[in-house]
């Protein structure tokens, strides 16, 4: 490849180029690199946060679809209910019946009927349809 001596464009080209470009004045905007949101070094940092927010959003939408309620408290209660009502193995099949037979909790009682400690010792009423009858004096015990 032959060497080219000098400048093929000539000195007039430089003068004209300088004249054209010196007339151009930038608008001096505020440096974009000083803006923290524009720095390329931080370009990937919001990504994990955005990913986390996206996952939370997906979970929220799924919970809303499952419960029908936008209240997060309902979602939590639903999760607890599902975890407690999970199917049990056959060996412990009696457990649900015992649970069913268990007396209901206290909230059903009226406010004016606070159970006294002595009363709580009383035997709970039986669910049997026939009342338990203490034997009358003189009757046989029926053995």
């Amino acid at each position: 490849m032959p060497k080219i001596e000098g400048d093929p464009l000539g000195p007039g080209f430089e003068r004209r180029l300088r004249g054209e470009l010196d007339r151009i004045q930038p608008s001096f905007p505020a440096p974009r690199y000083l803006s923290p949101t524009r720095r390329p070094a931080l370009a990937w940092r919001p990504a994990p946060v955005a990913l986390g927010l996206a996952l939370i959003g997906i979970a929220a939408i799924s919970a809303y679809a499952a419960t029908g309620s936008p209240n997060p408290a309902v979602w939590t209660e639903r999760v607890v209910t599902i975890s407690h009502s999970s199917p049990t193995p056959p060996a412990t099949s009696a457990t649900p019946e015992v649970r069913k037979a268990a007396p209901p909790a206290a909230p059903a009682r009226a406010p004016g009927h606070e159970a006294s400690p002595a009363a709580s010792n009383r035997p709970e009423p039986s669910e049997s349809p026939e009342p338990i009858r203490s034997p009358e004096p003189g009757e046989s015990s029926g053995t």
Binding site: L17, R32, Y33
Partner: protein
């Protein structure tokens, strides 16, 4: 808003020294180099807004890599490289929108080619924008900013021979576009410029 000083005279470029990673030095680099980088991009891109965007993005990218910058070449030349790459990407995507541009230009009246008509004389900047951006960048860095072939090669990560080739090709293309309308001046028989010639071995 930082105060942008006047463009330093050519030959003073290498007097600027910067410490990699220094925020104050980068601010100084921005104040010194931004107008020059902007002008280089204006010579490559027709849209001043695009030139400003690419210049700003170049400084953002340079700031992110400022700690890793090595003073093998002038810092301003390094920023020029980033900016020129940005401009190349911009022009590449702009070509994809070229269909719309072609449609817009359809039906425009053809300008008079009378070389004596000052208004219709081919614009030098338009001629620069018509050649590949790497060639235009080499021309601007050499003939406007005063970089030598070694500095341009170090800034762009190419050999000095490649720089010489680009300068020669750019010169030939520009001469073909511009000379029919106004003479650029006959090349001197012996170079009076102390800088090296275009083609370097």
């Amino acid at each position: 808003m930082p105060v942008i000083p006047d463009v330093p005279a050519r030959g003073e470029l290498t007097a600027e020294t910067y410490q990699p990673g220094s925020a104050e030095d980068f601010d100084r680099l921005y104040r010194t180099a931004y107008p020059r980088v902007y002008r280089t991009l204006t010579a490559i891109l027709a849209d001043p807004g695009a030139a400003e965007d690419c210049a700003q993005d170049a400084f953002v990218q340079a700031f992110g890599a400022w700690k890793r910058w090595r003073p093998d070449a002038p810092a301003e030349a390094w920023v020029h490289r980033i900016a020129v790459n940005r401009a190349i990407s911009y022009r590449r995507t702009a070509r994809l929108r070229g269909v719309g541009e072609i449609l817009r230009r359809l039906g425009r009246p053809v300008h008079s080619t009378d070389p004596s008509d000052e208004a219709t004389r081919p614009d030098l900047l338009s001629a620069l924008r018509s050649i590949p951006p790497k060639l235009a960048a080499a021309i601007v860095l050499r003939h406007y900013h005063g970089y030598n072939n070694r500095e341009i090669a170090a800034a762009f990560g190419v050999s000095e021979r490649t720089v010489g080739t680009r300068l020669r090709q750019a010169g030939e293309r520009l001469r073909a576009v511009l000379e029919p309308s106004f003479p650029l001046g006959a090349p001197p028989a012996f170079p009076s410029d102390t800088r090296e010639s275009y083609a370097e071995d």
